[in-house]
Symmetry: C2
Subunit: 308 residues, 2 copies
């Protein structure tokens, strides 16, 4: 198998792209994929400051690596979710990456901030699944960190597999509000929000893993222990089956959605956005999703104190 | 496990409906499901004449059985596709069903009608997959048979699994025109068309198989030999996986689509419909899909005669 760019021996085969690459050409291909997404979707300009949410995993570190490589002004943001050894290991990877490259990294440990609640505590004390609680919490801390850091943009490492699985879930339930918001760029709908972008949205999980490996990036390999049996993984599994039977399925599913169907749903999302009366961050109701979670935990705790 | 209606011993469990039934209650449940679909979607009235497309399989024979049972005026339509032993067996089942119940059955053998081309000949001589060619041909012969029989409605045995798989395929490619037309009732857009309905669209493959079995209906069990490896079967497979993980997935996928998303796509389908210059049936272009297929075969045959 030969590299389709330079005809040297290839080390990576990408069936969805009907391509194969040697190491240097693959790194170039990957960077260009990200660059093209940034330009095509007008994610950010070179003069803008970008907060990169890094989990210590392959996707977010590959993203940070490419953005630095392309000369963008970045700050890393690591959220310590408090999920035992998994969080310790992922923090070490994020910190090691930043130190080795002399990049600024903000670390926010959930258990030492605000109400002081990690993901396990919240998940155990509310009726949400861990993944649902974690999503709400991460969104809140991303938003507050972006506001505090005074950046223009928040970039996350969501890849094609993530986006395709989320789209499949949204489609199986036909959740029009979620479908309306599923885009690689979300413009801020409130002065306290910044633009949110997903520069890896057309890059598969496999592609970012290969990039991280070839660049010698040390990343946390373990999956989050809470994700076992998660619905999202079931969606990824069936999409991988469809992809094997017909390479390019995921890419077409996400790209065609954005091109032909998303504009139809986008018109739906017109709810007015106010501010949460507890934390002051933007909210659709009186209280934001994050404070709702915290309230649930506090109510349960108060009940336990009253009737131990 | 007890029947949820009469508390007798249950013989069927339906996880998607969180239900279990004994034989008489199951037959009642199934009939009511079909009845409700007919009334809710205003498929047809008791004074209308219905042409029921029967393949000899469980779905179409279960449908015919229920419609007769509910007192509707029906005529069966069997298309002989010319697919060797599979077609022979399915014809025997359709004829035996009609004879035993003294019901009128029209039989149209493709190889003895019009251009005299069976599915294998067409599939071998064109670049379509057998399933694509077969779909186009069946549509044409259904339409002409309904016109000749002077009925008001054409009913097919498409079940929930068929509809969910078709919806998944349409969604993976975001084919807006197909999405616009995916409804359990299609009103005729031309005087030569009749209304097309799918009374089993909320009834799973499993449910119709159980109904046919409990009613003692003899149906052809073999799958069409052309369907091996068909894309549609891959979609059914992944939907079955999602259904096992979360019972009710298929039902919700199809029902919610029709309720919340389909109206959005429905506005797209506004192409003008003329008549095919070859066969006179309605067509979007100068020649209909069926005649296009026949033309392809004839052109190829002429070439072979000229340069054998």
């Amino acid at each position: 198998m030969k590299c389709i760019r330079c005809r040297e021996k290839a080390c990576v085969q990408l069936r969805a792209h009907n391509s194969a690459f040697c190491k240097p050409c693959y790194l170039l291909f990957f960077r260009r994929q990200v660059e093209r997404a940034i330009h095509h979707e007008k994610m950010f300009r070179p003069d803008e400051r970008i907060l990169v949410a890094v989990s210590g995993g392959k996707d977010s570190l590959a993203l940070w690596d490419v953005l630095v490589d392309l000369g963008y002004q970045t700050i890393g943001l690591y959220l310590g979710l408090g999920i035992g050894e998994y969080s310790d290991g992922s923090r070490r990877c994020a910190e090691a990456f930043a130190q080795a490259r002399d990049l600024p990294l903000r670390v926010v440990a959930l258990e030492e901030t605000g109400p002081g609640l990690g993901v396990p505590t919240i998940a155990a004390s509310t009726r949400r699944t861990p993944c649902a609680a974690c999503g709400t919490m991460k969104r809140h801390y991303f938003d507050t960190a972006a506001l505090e850091a005074g950046v223009d943009v928040l970039a996350t490492g969501h890849n094609l597999d993530d986006e395709a699985a989320r789209l499949l879930g949204n489609v199986l339930h036909w959740q029009r509000e979620y479908l309306a918001r599923q885009r690689p760029v979300l413009q801020p709908k409130h002065p306290k929000f910044v633009r949110k972008v997903k520069p890896l949205y057309l890059v598969s999980e496999y592609e970012s893993a290969v990039y991280a490996f070839l660049r010698g990036i040390e990343y946390v390999v373990e999956e989050c222990p809470n994700s076992a049996g998660a619905t999202q993984l079931g969606y990824k599994d069936v999409l991988n089956r469809l992809e094997t039977a017909s390479p390019g399925t995921k890419l077409r599913f996400v790209k065609e959605y954005l091109r032909t169907a998303q504009p139809v749903f986008a018109e739906v999302d017109e709810r007015p956005l106010g501010e949460c009366e507890r934390c002051g961050m933007p909210a659709y109701g009186a209280v934001c999703g994050f404070c709702n979670l915290v309230l649930e935990v506090e109510t349960k705790r108060d009940r336990l104190v009253a009737h131990p």
